[in-house]
Symmetry: C2
């Protein structure tokens, strides 16, 4: 930590990002025995304890010198993979004009997570949380011809989201660094090429970082549609629920997961014909029976009772016309019917209605629409709101539903005969135990954290921002767009979550802040000479070394080395040097036992080990 | 500009920052024939025309791919030089808590240039314009012992200043990138070591960037005092006035410049004795004679009239006690006396009084303090405000001054006899024609732009923020601090200002976005084969090449090459290839004429030229 000692490094021109090698005493690694109490998960605790980061305020962190070395390595991996697929780096400002966000409507729709600023002239600005607007604005002034397309640009830059409850360290911080790329295309197939290449690049990036990611697709099927792929890591504190197939590898976010039907879907006509012989709906008195549980209990005497659950939803800013609603209305209501054992997936419902949001209607709205208190809604005779039915409903014969009157239900209700639906769609929440839509195996659930996301945006932003190019015929066209993001800070946190033990972090060779830590038992005499010689020899070979020259007890330094997670530890002591064949003790952080290596072979042993470890991760072994 | 073409580069792992070599068609260089009308200076015009930057909004810019290559090279030079002197890079957040700024009082004193933000919880934040607070806050939690000192940390990060009138492109933008370093020390000599090392590092950085900077010192003399050094470039639009000595190289900002006295300074006693034989002050009626010009005209009949100008200043937040003012008063007044031909330097005055600001008093305050309208103030008998005298005043015999009464002046006023001063100091504005304080030669003036600044802060911030360490005796001490900044964007603009001609930019080898541009007259057949071969051969040698494979006319491509300023241009054409000894035409951007080089020698010729040019700038030839 002495300022003057780094001066010797002046000859090292060409070490662009950081010194290859450092002595501990000239570096700054403030390790801690205990992390502050607000650190709850392994990565947060270990990043604080290992001196990688410090908190400046809630959700705001500083990367310290050791952490920044890791950060720069991840940046470099991402740059290499982006450059390799022809994406070009630019650097727009972090603070951008609010007017751009007003053009796309996100000034309003982003809500409070958007950090808005007024400057001294009272103009509106945004501290960028993402940059569709800024990139579209830049491209709009430069695109004139189809010859300029495709164009793929990215940045690695500061982002800000005003998280209401930042926590888990850099895993959910307010300020963070994101690699965000945006591509512009004249055709669906060109967009799809870029999207596929990005997906491959993301796989390489995470593999090189030593991460096991779960790519979660949500394809609309049609090329050029709104395909997206999320790159998730398993995490107990993840805010996504994933449904995974143990057999074929299908993985989906619960928000969009579908499953193999456990029913036989029917058209309106098919359902009507099937109901021809059924008794007509009959009112049943059901005093106080409001919930599905109550219903099951009440109808327990029936043989295999079948229920249709009906929920009234308020729809905010619907993007499609719905009966009984003025076109362009900001707000409307729908009745959603689904088989009684299932839940409605509100993300699917909102997507179906192209709505900003859907929320369960308040009690007075339910009463107004159904004529009954909450708990007695049903599709038969309901006219005050359009009926939206989950596919499962079309398969049910003689179902029990609410009768839109207090303490009344219907028996013998049949889709097609007693009611129809304005839209039928897959709206169910898929759960563990449902069957994989690809192979039929039983799905299981995990919690996941999103590290990256690639997305075909179509013309959503380019149309809103009036981005145009002239096609070969000289006609103005709106380019298709894709966007592709990776959060750097949380990717590093995820690596720690996956690679640590009780003693600390175990860095993959590709991200390790140093490859080797040399610990001389005492930094003096022959031990010092040997430590210095190995340090110089490894530096000459391009291996990054931390030489722990501190006067601390060996145990303290061993613990720090394990905590900060350097892949190879070399211990140099008098006894091993005094052997007939002088030896060093080398231990891999990821292994339990050390081995003795002759002093003459140590550098080669370490270099080949590190090169092999790196090559295995980089996939260029 | 075709997205797919970069794909071949996938094997190029290890090219961390950018591709070494690019084909023009796979890159994005939107050159312009004309710059927008708001671009007034060469660097702004050329950065837009060469496709280095684009404006996102007033004072907000995006660096495009070509510009970013230059930007990254400057970053790398700065990192190398910072690392070489043992400063360690960290990365704090850009948005920082307003509370830190309240601790030092700068939340209030920074005024409107500080971009303040409220988050959704209504807490105050700042988009950092500088980071004394953030670094002090980080260090405060980590420093426990003198053993941790000295500590030097830096960042290269986004900054924001809410300039009221941003202009001249990135030269005076609102958002910009700054390298800012902060060092912490247990002794004056340690701070001085770091300060001197930074000064040397800054000289190397600017030299390597090809810039002629004028280092402008303002030393307080005492070590550990408030020494500072500004690194200026000459600029017609600079907002600093510099006084330069043609003989000894003395350079000073007018705000702090001093000159060789053109008078003989006297103590109060010396002045009193010298005035013993002079007639006593006598009132002269001077109806309507209010200005120095009026006075010269009025007293023209006198032989060599001598005047003392007296100005009443309002002093905002004085940091020293002044007579007639309550200690800690927010606001007071002083009367400043200076020889009639000189002007008062308000920066010197504010520094002398350790004041936030000094401003000429308003008319009603002048009348209240002097008992007369503006134009008749004088030191004799003035009691309502303390007199602050410039050194020149002590040398004057029989001076004419205002008499603190309307239309009245005094003759025969003598310092020491008729008035004294609370403080005597150097307060004059030094002008072209004044004599160098070091060698006596005649000073001249230039306008300058500040690119960097190094500063000994002492304990100003560490004391305010309660940063403490325990010294060897176990006593809590406040560390000394230094701060050191360089604006990256404006440094690049300054390089262009210094290195351009009518055709465009002429990059120094160290910052050039590419070293070589290859222009095949037509990219086909034998010419294409030769162009590709040279491209690969140069890439193999680590030379950065742009191959202009566009189907544009050669003239268009020659103009673009000159505009973007690549140091070496290679033209490959059928005729020269068809010679008995096939030739290429090579032209340095900085030279007028091209030369023919045999195809076999071209790569070696280019490589050695570039290595020599780089080495000359890097000072490691």
């Amino acid at each position: 930590m002495s300022w003057g000692k780094g001066r010797a490094a002046i000859e090292q021109r060409g070490k662009v990002i950081y010194h290859t090698c450092m002595k501990y005493s000239a570096f700054f690694i403030p390790t801690l025995r205990e992390a502050p109490g607000d650190a709850l998960i392994a990565s947060h605790i270990l990043m604080l304890r290992a001196g990688l980061i410090r908190k400046l305020a809630n959700g705001l962190f500083a990367w310290l010198p050791l952490g920044l070395r890791i950060f720069r390595k991840l940046e470099a991996i991402i740059r290499e993979e982006m450059n390799a697929i022809g994406s070009l780096e630019i650097k727009p400002s972090v603070v951008v004009p609010g007017d751009l966000w007003k053009e796309t409507g996100r000034w309003d729709s982003m809500g409070e997570a958007l950090l808005r600023v007024k400057n001294r002239q009272n103009a509106d600005f945004v501290v960028s949380p993402t940059a569709e607007e800024a990139f579209s604005s830049l491209v709009r002034d430069e695109l004139s011809s189809y010859k300029h397309l495709p164009l793929s640009l990215y940045q690695i830059n500061t982002k800000y989201r005003d998280e209401i409850r930042p926590r888990y360290g850099v895993m959910r911080a307010r300020e963070f660094t994101m690699k965000d790329a945006y591509s512009f295309h004249a055709s669906d197939s060109s967009l799809d090429d870029a999207y596929q290449a990005m997906g491959q690049a993301y796989r390489r990036i995470f593999k090189r970082a030593g991460l096991t990611v779960i790519p979660v697709r949500a394809d609309s099927g049609a090329m050029g549609g709104s395909a997206s792929e999320e790159f998730m890591v398993e995490s107990a504190i993840g805010d996504n629920t994933l449904l995974l197939c143990p057999s074929c590898g299908y993985a989906a976010n619960v928000e969009k997961a579908s499953c193999k039907p456990d029913y036989v879907s029917r058209t309106l006509d098919e359902a009507r014909r099937a109901a021809a012989d059924l008794p007509l709906p009959a009112i049943v008195d059901t005093p106080g029976v409001k919930t599905i549980t109550d219903l099951y209990a009440f109808f327990d005497k029936d043989e295999k009772p079948v229920f249709i659950k009906t929920l009234i939803y308020q729809v905010i800013s619907p993007g499609i016309d719905l009966p009984g609603t003025d076109s362009g209305a900001q707000n409307t209501f729908v009745a959603v019917c689904i088989r009684g054992d299932l839940d409605v997936n509100e993300v699917k419902l909102a997507a179906l209605l192209k709505a900003g949001e859907v929320i369960l209607a308040q009690e007075h709205d339910v009463t107004r629409i159904t004529g009954a208190p909450v708990g007695f809604a049903g599709p038969v005779g309901l006219t005050a709101a359009p009926v939206i039915a989950d596919e499962t409903v079309t398969a049910l014969n003689a179902a029990i539903t609410g009768a839109n009157a207090q303490d009344k239900h219907y028996r013998n209700v049949a889709y097609g005969r007693d009611f129809s639906a304005h839209i039928v769609a897959d709206l169910r929440v898929v759960k563990a135990g449902d069957r994989c839509c690809q192979c039929g195996a039983e799905l299981y659930e995990k919690k996941g954290n999103e590290l990256g996301h690639i997305f075909k945006l179509g013309t959503k932003y380019t149309a809103a921002m009036n981005v145009r190019y002239l096609d070969e015929a000289g006609t103005a066209q709106t380019p298709l767009m894709g966007c592709y993001g990776i959060g750097l800070d949380r990717t590093i946190a995820a690596v720690i979550e996956e690679h640590h033990d009780e003693a600390g972090i175990i860095w993959p060779a590709t991200l390790a802040p140093f490859h080797v830590v040399i610990i001389p038992i005492q930094y003096k005499g022959a031990v010092q000479a040997q430590a210095d010689e190995l340090y110089r020899e490894l530096e000459r070979r391009g291996i990054e070394v931390l030489l722990d020259d501190r006067a601390e007890r060996p145990g303290v330094r061993f613990n720090d080395a394990d905590l900060i997670g350097i892949p190879y530890r070399v211990v140099i002591g008098d006894k091993n040097l005094a052997l007939d064949a002088p030896m060093l003790e080398i231990k891999k952080r990821s292994e339990d036992s050390a081995r003795l290596i002759g002093v003459g072979e140590a550098a080669e042993y370490l270099e080949s080990g590190i090169r092999a470890d790196s090559a295995a991760l980089n996939g260029c072994a």
